[in-house]
Symmetry: C2
Subunit: 189 residues, 2 copies
């Protein structure tokens, strides 16, 4: 093999994402990644710090992309419409990029500052959608947790094949979010 095929960190990350989306993040091994890139495993260390670091990169990229997907989805929408659209965008992302989504959710911990930053962006985004509801800061933060719980829980269960009944899944998600939003309208509590 020719020396110097012009590999860089971004290319490696992209290949890792492809592998993860195809076979799950559990199956993402440096051996498989190196094979895909036509290099030997140790050569990967010129571009990544190691497997844990690579996983972290996947998580970070996933958080950035899922937030972008939500931002895109709420263009021209507000309040319940916007939250519904954001929720669907979240779940759709998890469907389209299961490995990347897995990387987000199968993280041992969010201790890393870069990950926290990316996570904060998601939270801030939801807070901005919530602005027109006129909630107190504390109330809004509880709602953010609720929203994240719903969409992450749904995406996660769906991904593990946790929904086995013959029942339209998009409809389940729509009802979940709408029921919650209806409850939010009723009492400010």
């Amino acid at each position: 093999m020719a020396y110097r095929q012009g590999l860089d960190a971004e290319t490696v990350l992209q290949a890792a994402i492809e592998l993860a989306d195809l076979q799950g993040v559990e199956q993402l091994t440096l051996a498989a990644l190196a094979t895909k890139l036509n290099i030997k495993t140790p050569s990967l260390y010129n571009h990544i710090k190691g497997l844990p670091d690579l996983r972290k990169q996947l998580s970070r990229r996933g958080l950035v992309l899922i937030k972008e997907a939500m931002v895109e989805a709420v263009i021209g929408k507000a309040e319940d419409d916007a939250l519904l659209a954001a929720g669907f965008a979240y779940v759709m992302f998890a469907r389209k990029q299961p490995g990347l989504y897995d990387a987000i959710s199968s993280l041992p911990d969010y201790e890393d500052p870069e990950l926290q930053e990316a996570g904060s962006q998601v939270v801030l985004f939801i807070l901005r959608i919530l602005a027109p509801y006129g909630l107190s800061e504390e109330d809004a933060l509880h709602v953010v947790r609720g929203f994240r719980s719903m969409v992450h829980g749904f995406a996660s269960l769906e991904h593990r094949n946790g929904f086995r009944m013959e029942l339209e899944r998009d409809e389940s998600l729509r009802r979940l979010l709408q029921t919650y939003l209806r409850g939010l309208r009723v009492a400010v509590k």
Copy 2:
């Protein structure tokens, strides 16, 4: 070491659960498990089929126990009270037995019949709590999905340290469930 120390499958499973709860299911290795049991790694194969099988056993046990915890929690309660109690019991279980809960939720797939059976028991349990609401079967199934999404999502995010704000977490969970239940009351939709 003495031959025949009277080990059996249940003891091995218990030790595995302890390890998983202590260090996470990712760190549950046969090597560590064997060390804990004072045997050599290959000896484990007298009691388990292999690591994937062990993981499956953990998942199954977790599903059984989390359902039992919910059953216990709803004694003497009905409707919203029962659902709220079940939801809290679910999340409490995830807190108390993080490794076991991880085993439930970090499953590659639910293909296995035994796991499906255990999962069905959870679904059936929630359906029984929903009975007094007089929902159609289809409506009820959507609600079950919603409920599972909420509590799993909450437990999962909490476990990954996903909730970073200084904000009472139990209160977040209470509001999430109550808001949803309120929405359920408003319209039968």
